[in-house]
Amino acid sequence: MERKVHVQTTINGEPAEFLCEPRQSLLECLRDILNLTGTKEGCNDGNCGACTVTMDGRIVTSCLVLGVEAEGAEITTIEGIARGNELHPLQKAFLEEAALQCGICTPGFIVAAKALLDQEPHPTEERIRWWLANNLCRCTGYDKIVKAVQKAAQEVTL
C-alpha cells in the first residue's frame, strides 16, 4: 500500500517532522517539503557534494540518504551554520577570498569544511584537499576555496 511515512528528526538543532514517500531522498525532503533550499542538487548520485549535510555528526551526501532514514537523527544544513545573524567564519572567508562564483557548490563546501574544522582546527592544505575531494566546483579551480578554509581555520581558533 502506498502510504507516506511520518518522520521525526532534528534539523539545525530544532525538532522537525515531515511526511514523505519512502523513495524521497533526504535532499528532496529538505528542499521540497521543508523548504530548506540552501542545500543544492548537482549530480543526484553522490559525486558532486553539493547536497552535503551532516547527519549525526558525519557529513553525507543527502541525495544518497532516504528521508525516512532521518528518523531520530540530527541533521545540520547550510541554514544552520551562521551564528544567528552573524556569518560563520567560513562563510565570511568564502566571501572575502572570492571562493565562489555561481555558488551552487558553496553550501556543500561550507558544511563539509565546517565538519573538518570542528574536529581538526589546524588541518594542512593536503588534508583539506583530501577531505573536500567529494565536493566538486566547476567555477573556482579550488585554490580559492582551499585558501578560504585555511583563513577560516585561523579565525576559528582566534
Binding site: 523513495r23 544518497l64 567529494n134
Partner: protein, 285 residues
C-alpha cells in the same frame, strides 16, 4: 524512483523474515551503490530493508587471537577511526579510506562493497588476500563461506532469497598486506585495475602469499600464488609475482583502459603491493 516500502528491523530474524516475504526486497546499508542503481532503474525492489539498526551488523570488534569481526553495515569511517583495528589491519583501514570521499565514507560499508559484487570493488581483493570469510544468515539458518567465492558475476553474489550478509570475519594476520589500485584521478574514481596482496615470512623467505585482483575479470579473482612459497625476498620474486598476476588476469578493453594495459597494470600493482606487504610484515615482527 519507483515506489517502494521501507522497513528498519531491529534484529536479524525480522530482517530475514522481511526479505523472505518479499522476493524483490533489497537490504540497505550505506545506500551509496543501491540508491544510485535504483535511481537509474537498474534495481526495482518493492521493499527496502534498512539493516543499519541491527546490532550484529554494526559490530566492529578486534580480538588479538581471534581476528576481526566486521559487521556488514559498519561504515568505512568507523574502520579507520578505530585505532586498534587500524593498527592490526592497516591495509583494511587504508582501503576504507580510498572508497569514495569523506561523505561516501560516512555511509558506505565494506559489507555493501562486497554484496554489490562489482568487478572493480576496492575492498574485495584485499579481503580475499586477508583470508576473510562471509557470515551469512537466511531462512534455513547460518552459513559461512570464503569471500573468494562470494561474487559470481558482475553485481551477482551467492546470497539466496532471504539471505543477508551478517559480518565479515578476518583472521589474525601474521604478516603484511596491501591493496593498490590504479585510477586516473587521486580519488573518487573507479579502478582500472587493483591488486590485493598478503604475505607471511619465515627465515627471510616468503612462507605464503595471497594475491587477488580487481577490474580484470567479471568478478574479483584469486591468483594462484602457491609457487611463491619458499621463494627468497628479492626482485626476481617480486617480478614473478607480477607475472603470475598478469597471467591470471582476464581483462577486457573498455573506456578505462585496454586489456593489454590492464594486464601490465596487474603486474606492476602486484609487484608493488607485494613489496609493500613484505615491508609491513618485517615491521610487524
Amino acid at each position: 524512483m519507483k515506489w517502494f516500502d521501507y522497513q528498519a528491523p531491529r534484529n536479524i530474524g525480522e530482517a530475514v523474515e522481511a526479505m523472505t516475504l518479499h522476493p524483490t526486497a533489497r537490504p540497505l546499508a550505506g545506500g551509496t551503490d543501491l540508491l544510485v542503481q535504483m535511481r537509474a532503474g537498474r534495481r526495482t525492489p518493492d521493499l527496502i530493508v534498512d539493516i543499519k539498526k541491527i546490532p550484529e551488523l554494526n559490530q566492529l570488534h578486534f580480538e588479538p587471537g581471534l581476528g576481526l569481526t566486521l559487521g556488514a553495515a559498519v561504515p568505512c569511517y568507523r574502520i579507520y577511526n578505530d585505532s586498534a583495528v587500524s593498527r592490526a589491519y592497516p591495509s583494511l583501514a587504508e582501503v576504507a579510506n580510498i572508497i569514495g570521499g569523506t561523505q561516501i565514507q560516512g555511509r558506505a560499508s565494506i559489507g555493501g562493497n562486497l554484496c554489490n559484487a562489482a568487478p572493480s570493488a576496492d575492498s574485495i581483493p584485499l579481503l580475499i588476500a586477508l583470508g576473510a570469510t562471509a557470515r551469512i544468515t537466511g531462512p534455513s539458518g547460518e552459513r559461512t563461506i570464503d569471500v573468494a567465492a562470494f561474487c559470481t558475476a558482475p553485481g551477482v553474489n551467492v546470497l539466496q532469497p532471504g539471505e543477508i550478509l551478517v559480518s565479515i570475519q578476518i583472521p589474525p594476520t601474521a604478516g603484511g598486506a596491501r591493496y593498490l589500485r590504479f585510477i586516473p584521478r587521486n580519488e573518487m574514481d573507479i579502478a582500472v585495475a587493483g591488486a590485493g596482496v598478503s604475505v607471511t615470512l619465515s627465515n627471510g623467505n616468503i612462507q605464503s602469499a595471497k594475491i587477488a585482483l580487481a577490474s580484470v575479470a567479471p568478478t574479483p579473482i584469486t591468483v594462484d600464488a602457491s609457487s611463491l612459497s619458499g621463494a627468497p625476498v628479492n626482485d626476481d620474486t617480486l617480478k614473478k609475482a607480477g607475472e603470475l598476476a598478469a597471467a591470471a588476469a582476464k581483462p577486457i578493453t573498455d573506456m578505462r583502459g585496454t586489456a593489454d594495459y590492464r594486464r601490465h597494470l596487474c603486474a606492476v600493482l602486484t609487484r608493488r603491493a607485494l613489496a609493500s606487504a613484505i615491508a609491513a610484515a618485517k615491521e610487524s615482527k
